[in-house]
Amino acid sequence: MPYIGSRVKRKEDVRLLRGIGKYVGDIHRPGMAHAAILRSTHAHARIVKIDVAAAVKLPGVVGVLTAADMSDLKTIPMRTGVIPGLERSQQTPIATTKVRYVGDPVAVVVAENRYIAEDALELIEVEYAPLGAVTDARASMQPGAPQLHDATPNNIAANFQVNVGDVDGAFRESDLIVEEEFSTQRHSAVPLENRGLVAEWDEGRGLLTMWGPTKMTHTNWRILSELIGLPQSSIHFIEPEVGGGFGARGEFYPEDFLIPFAARHFRRPICWIEDRSENLKAMNQSRQQKHRVKIGVKKDGTIMGMDAEILFDMGGYTRTHGGVPAIAASAMLRGPFRVKNYRCNVFCVLTNKTPVGTYRSPGRYEANFVRERLLDIIAHRLKLDPADVRRRNLIRHEEMPYDLGKHPFHYMVYDTGDLPGQFERALERFGYEDLKPTCAAAKLEGRAVGVGIGCFVETSGIGPWEYARVEIDNAGTVILYSGCNSVGQGIATALSQIVADELQVCIENVRVVHGDTAKVPYGNGSNASRSTVMAGSAAVGASRKVKDKLLRLASASLEIDAADLILRDGRVVVRGAPERSLSFADLARLALPGPALKSGISPGISEEDFFATDKRPFPYGVHVASVEVDKETGKIKILDYLVTEDVGRKINPMIIEGQMAGGLAQGIGGALLEEFVYDEDGQPLSTNFMDYLLPTAMEMPKAQFISTEDFPSPHNPLGVKGAGEGGITAAGAALANAVSNALGVEVKRLPLKPDYVLELVKEAEAAK
C-alpha cells in the first residue's frame, strides 16, 4: 500500500512525547553565557544618552553592547514583499539615534546567566527625548503627524495600485452600489515557544555556529553573512526542534544579528531566549488593516466592480516580509468570485508600534473578512439569501484556469477546481437550509442564533524553486536532504512518505535532514504553504534520479537490462525472479569509489534535483459557522463549524486535518479574542497571556474538517496544493457573518470581543 494518502503516524513524535527533542532553549554549550536585550520603553524618541557603566560593573556581567560598539550597521533587508519605497524604512538590528516602537532593541547585556543579565538591564540608564507617537494608520498619513523616518514623508512607506478592467463603467451599469469601511485588529502568530538563538564563535577556525534559525535557514544564512561581514562558508546554521511558526518565527530579526555579533565580540557561546512579555512586543505582529470598499452589483447580486482602498499598518519599520500582507490582501480581496473590474489603492503606513510581518494566511484572512461581509450586506440590501449572492458570482469550473488580471506583485491565475460544487456540498453537509428556520425560531424566543458563510481561495506553494538531494548510506538508509524547514507541521513525515513511495522502501528507512547549512546547500524554507508542494516535488525528482542510479548499478552487477529490474522493499529485484536481487546497502557498497571507479560508474548514490516554478496552486473551500450570541454578556458560543478545502492530493490526511483544526483555532482566536492593544502613546497593553488571549480547549468547538482531492494541481508532479492555511483563512469572515445574522446588524470590524458585541446588541435593539 502506498504511503501517500495514508494516515501515517509522524516520525517526529516519539522524541517530542518523551520530552527528549531538543529545542533551541535545550541546547547547552561549554562556557555558554546568556544574553538579555534592553528594549525601548518609548514608542518614539531620540536617544540622548546611554550609560552602561553600572551594568558592566555588576559581578557576573560579561559585557554590554550598544550601537556605539557596532560600526557600519546595515539595515535588515526585505526577503520578499518588496514594494519600491519600503527599503527607506528598514530596521537596523539595534537602535542608533532613534527608537520607533516600545521594544526597539537599545542594548545587549551578556552575563553568566539570565538572572544576572536581567539584573544588569535595570542598571542601564537611557535618556530619551520623546518625539510624540502616532499609533493610527490614517492619523499617521496626515500632515503634521510625527515623522518616523526622514526618508518617508507622511509615513507612507509605499503605495501601489491594482487596476483591472473598467471600474467606473461597471459602477455606471450597477443597480446598487454599497460603500463600507472595515477593519481587522493587530494580532499575530504567538507560537508557544518564544524565540531564541544560540551562537558560538570558534576563534581558531573562524567559524560561527548558530542553533535556532528556522523557517528560512538559507535566506537568513545569506542575510547574516552580508550584515556581519563573514562569508557564508564561515557560518553554520543548525535548526533544532521548533515550537510553532505560523509565519512569524524564523524571519531575520534584529536578534539574529545581535546574538552572533555578541558571541564573536565576547568570544563566548551565547544563548538568548526571549521571555513572553518581550515576545509580545518584539516578534512580528500582523493583520492590522483598514479597508474602504465600494462594490457595484446588479439586482440579482451579480458583482459588476469593486473599488478598494487598503491601509496596511506596518508598525515602526519595514521588516523582512516587506508588504506581503498588503500585497496579498489587494490580490485576494476578490477571492473565489468573478470580479472583472477591480481597482485597489494600497498604502503601507508606518506607526509607532511593533513592526509587522506575515501571520498564517496573511492579507487573506483580512480580505476574506471584508469581502464576505460585503456580500452579506449586499444580500441584505437586495433581500437575497447570502448563499444565492455567492452562487451568482463563484468562478465556475469551466472558467479554470482563471486569470484575475494583472497585479504588480502577485501571481494571479487560479489553477483548477470546482468552487460552486465545493460550496454546495459544504452547505448541504452543514445543513444550511435547515438552519435558517431554526435560527428564525430561536429569534422568536428572544435568542440570537445565526449562521454565516465564508468562501475562500488560498494561495500556496510559492516558488521559485526548491532543492532536494537523496542519498543511500552504507546501511541502505535513504536520506533526503531538503531545502525546506520544520516549524512543527510534520514535514519530515510527509516528505518521507513521498520518498518511500518513489523508492519503494519502508518509511522507517527514510531519514529527512533539513535546516543544516553544512548538509543542505540551498533552500527556500517553509512558508506560504509551500513545503509539500515545492520540497515534495523536488524530493520526487531527486528520488527518481536515485532510482535510475540504483537500476544502473544493479544492471551492471547482475548483468541484466535495467528495464527488467524493479524496486521492491528496499531492494532492486529482477522482474519475475525475485530471488535475484541486491539490497540498497549492497548497491551502496558497489557505488563506493573503489569499485565504482574501476567499473566506470560515478561513485556514490547521491542525486540532486531542483523543482522550479513561478506558478502557484490555489486551494479553495468554504467555512460555515453557526453561533449563539449571549445578549447579556456579549459572549459568542460557536454551535457548529465546518471547514472544507480542496487540496488537490492528500499526502497525509491526518496531518492535513491537523492543519485545518489548528488553523481554525487561530482563526477563532483572531475573530473573537486576540488583540494587541496600544494606548495613544504607543504603549503596548497586551504583553502577557492574561491580556493577550489565546483560545483554550474551552473556546474551541468540535468542528468538522473535510479535505478533498477533487482537482489535483497541474503545476507539480504530486498534484498537491498547500494545506496550511485553509483552516484559518475565512474564520473571521464566517464568524462575523454568523454574528451579524444572529443579531440582525452588520459587523464592521474584528475582533468580536464582548464590548463590541454588546455595542452591536444595542444597535440591534435600537433598530427594532
Binding site: 503516524k9 509522524r10 517526529e12 513524535d13 516519539v14 517530542l16 512525547l17 518523551r18 520530552g19 527528549i20 527533542g21 531538543k22 529545542y23 532553549g25 535545550d26 547547552h28 546567566n113 539570565r114 538572572y115 502568530a189 504567538v190 507560537p191 508557544l192 515557544e193 518564544n194 526542534e241 521548533v242 515550537g243 510553532g244 511558526g245 505560523f246 531566549i273 521571555d275 513572553r276 512579555s277 516549524v487 512543527g488 507541521q489 510534520g490 491526518m654 496531518i655 486535518e657 491537523g658 483544526a661 489548528g662 488553523g663 481554525l664 483555532a665 487561530q666 502577557n688 497571556f689 492574561m690 489565546l694 483554550t696 480547549a697 474551552m698 474551541m700 468540535k702 468542528a703 483552516g727
Partner: protein
C-alpha cells in the same frame, strides 16, 4: 549569591543540590539537571507548558522556586513512559491520533492529562476540555488532544 541545599525526588531518582533562593523550579530542572522536557512558554503561570506533577498535583514549575521543592516528589515528562522503549498509553494515543504538532506544549499537557485520569478515570469530553483549559496549545486546535485523552482512558481502563 548564597545558595541553599535542597533534596528532592524526580522521576524516582533522588537529587541533592545547592541552589540560589531565587532560582525558579523550571530553571533548576532545565539548567541544573538538564531535564529539558519541561518547557517554558510564558513564565507567567498561564500557558501550562511547564506543568509538572508535584507530590501528585499538577503545578506550574515557573511559579515555584526550587527551594520550595525541597523534599518534594516530582514527575516530569521524562518520567511518564514506563521505560526507554515503551510509551505510556497517553503518549501512544497522542502519537496515533495526532495530538501534537510542534510538541512544545505536549509535556505539560501529558502530565495534566495523567493527573486527570488518575482522579477521573472516565472523563467526559467536557471534563477533559475543562481540565485542559489551563494549558495552551497553539498548533492543534485541541480536538485531537481531547480525543487522544479519551482513547487513552479507554486503554487504561482495560478497553472498557
Amino acid at each position: 549569591m548564597s545558595t541553599r541545599p535542597i533534596r528532592l525526588t524526580i522521576n524516582g531518582h533522588e537529587y541533592a543540590r545547592q541552589v540560589e533562593p531565587r532560582k525558579l523550579l523550571t530553571d533548576f530542572l532545565r539548567d541544573d539537571l538538564r531535564l529539558t522536557g519541561t518547557h517554558v512558554g510564558c513564565e507567567q503561570g498561564v500557558c501550562g507548558a511547564c506543568s509538572i506533577l508535584f507530590n501528585g498535583d499538577v503545578v506550574r514549575s515557573c511559579l515555584l522556586f526550587a527551594v520550595q521543592a525541597n523534599g518534594a516528589e516530582i514527575k516530569t515528562v521524562e518520567g511518564i513512559a514506563p521505560n526507554a522503549t515503551e510509551l505510556h498509553p497517553l503518549q501512544e494515543k497522542f502519537w496515533e491520533l495526532h495530538g501534537l504538532q510542534c510538541g512544545f506544549c505536549t509535556p505539560g499537557i501529558l502530565l495534566t492529562a495523567e493527573a486527570l485520569l488518575k482522579e477521573t478515570p472516565n472523563p467526559s469530553e467536557g471534563e477533559i476540555r475543562e481540565w485542559l483549559s489551563g494549558n495552551l496549545c497553539r498548533c492543534t486546535g485541541y480536538q485531537n488532544i481531547v480525543a487522544a485523552i479519551q482513547e487513552a482512558a479507554k486503554t487504561m481502563n482495560g478497553g472498557k
